[in-house]
């Protein structure tokens, strides 16, 4: 009986989410009507465009990959009641670290270079995030604020490296030298940029799910997230779980950035990952911090992003309507009152 209750709870959450998304789509349509001189064509481009050919479809899925990693990074932290607001800087730094690693060993075999690049990405970002966790543990300095500030500073420092010491003078965008060919990830859906990192993203979601729900450390982490005093009382080493979730969260962000470089850009371009950190928070919250829920939530965001791009090319609106569409979803996705309506309906 209890099992059924929770199943119906999940169902009304899903229905509430569906309602939120439909409602947001409605607002997007309305917005396009207001802004566009050829609304029908633009709306078609927004909603159907991403599915209209392999190139668009593959690229949309490829955008979801880093969002899955940042979403997982946030889910791990938030489940532990540790608030990592430094995702932006961590993804960016991870991407840059992977690039520098690859540039340092241009003649290494492909797999070695990829592995090293990803280790570098994860380590650097884990360290950046870990600082905030450490300050929190040691002196009770709010990790939410410190991670945000550190991330802002880190992003600027990354800008310096990308446009300064590592800048490639041979191209006219602000970007580093490209990494060696053999480090590029295998494309799996040509002509799009979708590559094997998609499988890694799915694997990461499953691994994080298992870690959080089936392991010793995951249990202790969740307990600390739900109630730290209870956890200390129960004998769990609570301070450890102020730092560990931050480190894991940073590492996942870093991997997201590193995979973007290896899979998509083959170089660190100024600002290439901007937005991934913030959207990771939204993805995690839509997924209710459930690692498996992160997969569809990331796809939804990638869809909005692809829709806006397609509407820009196939219609006459600017790309930023994606931000507006996302903001509609942000506004409503946690609105308790909407879920109550669904619940009452179902009961009646």
């Amino acid at each position: 009986m209890k099992g059924r209750q929770s199943a119906s709870g999940v169902l009304s959450t899903v229905m509430g989410l569906a309602l939120t998304i439909l409602f947001s789509f409605g607002l997007v349509i309305l917005l396009i009507f207001l802004l566009s001189k050829m609304p029908a064509k633009t709306i078609y481009a927004f909603f159907i465009g991403p599915f209209s050919n392999k190139y668009y479809l593959g690229n949309m899925l490829n955008v979801a990959v880093p969002l899955i990693f940042t979403g997982l990074g946030i889910a791990v932290a938030f489940k532990s009641s540790v608030f990592n607001l430094g995702g932006e800087g961590q993804v960016y730094a991870g991407g840059l670290a992977a690039t520098i690693a690859c540039l340092a060993i241009p003649h290494a075999p492909g797999l070695v270079g990829m592995a090293l690049a990803l280790v570098a990405a994860a380590t650097v970002s884990a360290a950046i995030a870990g600082f905030s966790g450490f300050f929190r543990m040691k002196w009770d300095a709010d990790e939410m604020i410190s991670s945000f500030l550190l991330s802002a500073a880190v992003a600027l420092v990354c800008n310096y490296f990308i446009t300064g010491p590592f800048d490639d003078p041979n191209n006219n965008i602000l970007s580093t030298y490209p990494i060696a060919k053999q480090f590029g990830l295998l494309k799996i859906f040509p002509p799009s940029k979708l590559n094997v990192s998609a499988f890694l993203a799915i694997a990461a979601a499953i691994l994080v799910y298992i870690f959080m729900n089936k392991t010793h450390a995951g249990y202790e982490m969740r307990m600390c997230g739900l109630n730290r005093e209870f956890s200390r009382y129960g004998g769990i080493k609570v301070s450890r779980y102020l730092v560990l979730p931050m480190i894991l969260s940073g590492a996942l962000h870093g991997l997201g950035g590193g995979l973007m470089v290896l899979g998509t850009y083959q170089a660190a371009i100024k600002g290439f990952s901007f937005g991934m950190g913030w959207n990771g928070i939204a993805v995690a919250l839509i997924a209710r911090n459930n690692p498996l829920g992160v997969l569809p939530a990331a796809l939804l965001f990638a869809y909005l992003d692809a829709g806006a791009k397609s509407a820009m090319l196939g219609g006459d609106v600017t790309f930023e309507i994606a931000s507006i569409a996302q903001s509609f979803i942000f506004y409503l996705v946690t609105a308790q009152a909407l879920y109550d309506i669904v619940r009452k309906r179902r009961r009646a």
Binding site: K2, G3, K214, T215, H216, A217, Y219, E220, R222, M223, L226, N227, E229, F230, S231, R232, Y233, G234, G235, I236, K237, R347
Partner: protein
């Protein structure tokens, strides 16, 4: 003359949770009316409806014969109804005066809070009712008894004619209860009407003119107090005869299991001691009851015994070894079991399942290569849920259980398996008679199994009922240490109450018991 009539009040919190089931309740002018009933009987809900904090699903309220709808506490205040909640609704950072005037502040120059007028009027209310609080004191610095006075003053300042008090005595000492009751009597003299909710039947007999008994959301009886006795009330409340009876024999069997030596804890940022050179020994097979009014160091004693608070000086010994500075986890590994006073935040994680709550202390026993063995865990939890008769099963969130069942989960976790020392604090707070009885039995079982038990409680009745010896704390000091003779007389309680209020402080050595005879001698000395 009839002041109030509530007719057919029904309140549902969810589809299947009927908190009030067509309740009829009436009140005469200038009476003190007691409402009694087990936990969850619906007393608070009925009062919240009367005070406008909840809206009934059906039913009507007549006040002075006129039908009224009370949508908010402001409506209630306007009718002259005031309520003192079980959990005080005070803002600790504000002064007494600010708390009292909050929401109906007197104004200066039409825009500023007029603190001068406020303090003056409040002082008048305070003085005319013989209270002992300073309008300019911060509420944070008051004792629980004084906070309650602030709540009463708050309502009198709002010109309340009908005062509702929800379980006002559960946090007070015997002396404070006496003083509360004389306040209520003088309010009645002034023409006011009072409703008092309580669990303690003696208090019903002492203070009330009439009594309404509630059970499972409905009213089962309304009587004149002079026409009932405690046995009948108790039968009405629980539906069968319940006697508070413990089968216990004193049998301290071993050496000291837990020992406090000159333990001192100071308040952060100041030098005020919260625990002041406390010396206390708990032996195996012994229950040491610690009594005191809240705010006098009971909480600090609990926290330091459980490794949740650093001590500033002194030593805590566990089986002869110094354990000051060890964490709760390390203490648990050495044989600590701990039932905390704060069972909703410290003792349980409300949104986790019963199972997750049960294994927090021993999940390392269910590991294989870093993974939890879910089959073993399920089996273990199911077994505990059955043997402790916990409602609902192992997989539901513990927060959806009743208070009694939450406490059972905590007891199941802490009192299963071996423990050398058990720290128990306020274990029956807010529980009904049957659940309390269950708690006592489990604690006595642990004692028989050889554990030493530190039993901290502000409920003197249960300390006298269960403890082998009683330590009384006042302002962080152990001011009295008595061998307990299970003497439930009012005189004995008042004798201990004198220690609790700091009127006596003559026994500070744990080896120097006051026996029953000593007490008799002393009590005589007092009266002559």
């Amino acid at each position: 003359m009839q002041l109030l009539e509530m007719k057919g009040i029904t309140k549902l919190y969810a589809d299947d949770l009927v908190a009030n089931d067509s309740v009829d309740f009436s009140l005469e002018e200038r009476e003190i009316h007691a409402i009694v009933g087990e936990n969850g009987a619906g007393k608070t809900t009925l009062m919240k409806i009367l005070y406008g904090l909840e809206q009934p699903d059906s039913g009507s309220i007549l006040f002075r014969g006129v039908k009224k709808s009370i949508h908010s506490p402001l409506d209630a205040n306007r009718l002259g109804i005031g309520m003192v909640h079980q959990h005080f609704k005070l803002i600790p950072d504000f002064t007494v005066a600010e708390n009292v005037v909050l929401g109906i502040e007197p104004l200066r120059a039409k825009i500023f809070v007029d603190h001068v007028t406020a303090a003056r009027e409040i002082r008048r209310v305070i003085e005319s009712h013989g209270f002992s609080i300073d309008p300019n004191a911060r509420v944070r610095s008051l004792t629980v008894g004084q906070m309650q006075q602030v709540e009463i003053v708050k309502m009198l300042y709002r010109k309340a004619e009908l005062l509702i008090l929800d379980e006002p005595t559960s946090v007070l000492t015997e002396q404070e209860i006496d003083s509360l009751f004389s306040t209520l009597r003088s309010l009645r003299e002034d023409g006011k009407t009072c409703i008092i909710i309580t669990h303690k039947l003696q208090e019903v007999m002492d203070i009330s003119d009439r009594v309404t008994v509630m059970r499972k959301g409905g009213v089962v009886a309304v009587r004149s107090t002079s026409e009932v006795d405690k046995a009948e009330l108790s039968r009405l409340m629980v539906g069968k005869n319940m006697l508070f009876q413990l089968d216990r024999k004193y049998a301290a069997c071993g050496d000291s299991a837990l020992e406090f030596k000159d333990v001192t804890i100071r308040q952060r940022g100041s030098n005020r001691p919260l625990l002041d050179r406390v010396n206390l020994t708990v032996r195996s097979c012994e229950i040491v009851g610690v009594a005191g009014v809240s705010g006098n160091g009971l909480g600090e004693l609990e926290d330091s015994a459980a490794g949740l608070r650093r001590i500033d000086s002194g030593q805590i010994l566990f089986d002869g070894q110094d354990i000051s500075g060890l964490s709760t986890g390390e203490l648990r590994a050495r044989g600590l079991a701990y039932v905390p006073a704060d069972r909703l935040h410290r003792g349980s994680s409300l949104s986790s399942t019963v199972t997750e709550n049960l294994i927090v202390t021993n999940h390392h026993n269910f590991l294989r290569a870093g993974f939890l063995k879910s089959g073993k865990i399920r089996h273990y939890a199911t077994k505990l849920v059955e043997s402790f008769a916990i409602d609902g099963g192992p997989r539901i969130a513990i927060g959806t259980l009743s208070g009694g069942n939450i406490q059972k989960v905590i007891l199941a976790r802490e009192l299963t398996g071996e423990a050398k020392i058990v720290v128990v604090s306020e274990p029956t707070w807010g529980l009904d008679v049957a659940s309390s009885q269950f708690v006592y039995e489990k604690i006595l079982e642990m004692r028989s199994a050889g554990a030493g038990i530190l039993f901290i409680s502000s409920n003197l009745d249960e300390i006298i009922g269960i403890a082998d010896s009683i330590a009384v704390m006042y302002r962080g000091k152990v001011v009295g240490f008595l061998r307990n003779e299970q003497d439930q007389s009012k005189e004995f309680k008042e004798f201990i109450g004198e220690y609790m209020l700091g009127l006596r402080d003559d026994f500070v050595s744990p080896d120097d018991f006051v026996s029953r005879d000593d007490f008799a001698v002393r009590a005589k000395g007092e009266s002559s």
